[in-house]
Amino acid sequence: MSGLIERLDGFRLRIPPSYKPGMNGPVIVYADPVIEKDLENSALEQAANTATLPGLVGAALAMPDIHSGYGFPIGGVAAFDARDGVISPGGVGYDINCGVRLIATSLEAGTAAKRLQDLSLRLYAGIPAGVGAGGGVRVGRREQEALLTGGAAWAVNNGLGRPEDLGAIESGGALPGADPDAVSARALERGRDQLGTLGSGNHFMEVQEVTDVYDEDSARAFGLFKGQLTVMLHTGSRGFGHQVCTDFIEVMRAAAARYGIALADQQLAAAPFRSTEGQRYFGAMQAAANYAWANRQALTGLTREIFEKVFGMGAKALDMRLVYDVAHNIAKLEEHEIGGKKLALVVHRKGATRAFGPGHPELPAAYAPYGQPVIIPGDMGRASYLLAGTGGAMAETFGSSCHGAGRLISRGEALRRARGRRIADELAGKGIWVRSSGRETLSEEMPEAYKNVENVVAVVTGAGIARRVARFRPLAVIKG
């Protein structure tokens, strides 16, 4: 593979369409020489495979946090013409609308420092997390349909947030095409008691401090200032989304054979977007996306209550305003300008974040002059970032950017490297309180298991597909 990759400039590599039979376009990999050193061949191979699917528009894209996934790589973006292109559950991933939200507070980290340990303990006790954690908001069968169509608004209407939150969520926290009838009874059952739960693996809640502000005007518009205490939350659609994906991989395998779609990998199973199968998946996927937004909204409600108790302050004084909420596992029907013409595209972002530039009509009015907030979590020992979308992203990545640091080593290798170490104590030595329900989670998720987010952010900002607004350091981390 390495001999076939062409370096276009300091931040871009290109895999030509001649690399493998059936490719309908090239792959553009966003990587500088530092990121290139750690690129997995298997992930690049997967990016090339996505380019073989029918209806690809432009290039398949690989963000600098790319790593190997199932079918599509994680950190991949691929857009297909809505008229004759495909939709693929593998291009969205199992955790549909896994995403991140950032919540501001009125507090300064310095003044909150002596309550941090108590805060981390109360968050750990109050936020259902970990393997198989139910214990969230139990939703009856009749209510489930309202939840699946209402998304975050359903949670707000049930006392788990504020109406103004909705304006600060990608797509307003609900996709209008959700089709509860396309969702299986099994998905409904798996989702019934998992709303308002964090889950396990790399999902987290993190209390952070704004350490650096790179653009004062944007930061002010987003409600952020240096030294501020903030909360970052990473989770998705839980067992519900997984079941939707599981159900439709089977449907799409059969559909691909029926429509004559050659699959380089079974996990790329796909159907024409306009087909019955494609539309049913799109409806079910949107329902799962709405479930995820309701989940993050419910967790926001719980978090605010805990903060109010710990700091003994009312909601108004604490001012826990939602800065933004982004999806990073999703397929969306979007209009983009291609070769001077506006085209309806099915944009798959799997481990990639929407990053619309300034003036885009989907942005909240207060944010429109600055571009969409793009939330990039790092690892639990170093840093996270808030970026903003750019015109460059609109021009070359269908308005997309990276989604995080990206794993560097496997869970197994992380466990081996952590043997004999006390990860929680190491982090505590750096002033970071960590609580985890899983015995091995901290080892698997230790900082060096991930790429350095600084290197990932350097590429997307260097390439002009996002720009820095603020940087955060972790103070307290709750892991599943």
Binding site: G71, G130, V131, I409, G412
Partner: protein, 139 residues
Amino acid sequence: MFEISAGSGDATLKAGADSAEGLFRELALGFSVLSRSGAEVRPLEKRRVSLSAPDGESLLVNFINELVFLLDTQGFLPAGLEGMVSLAGNACRLEAELPGETAPPGLRQDGKLAKAATYHALKLELRDGIWRAEVTLDL
């Protein structure tokens, strides 16, 4: 015989046996060990599973996904498999009872919750009279 190895966001379950039923039994046992971090699962109750699929790979993935569903919704883990598995042609079937145990969530806390079985790097083959399978589970 089964073996579990950890990947970046997943685990790979490998198993081998001299019959299709044996293979699926080993996969069920491996799934339980992964989910309960090695703690014993007792045959205290049973679940009936009936599956059909157009090919063996699909039957294998659907079977593990059945285990995922039972674990995620009921906390049930298998201690074995009793029944019939056919991996012949394009009408593969599994009719079986799974003896096992409903584990309280606290007992599962140290294990891994597999959220889905995938077709990623899936292997199913009969070689030298031994059925072998390798399936990647998303965690």
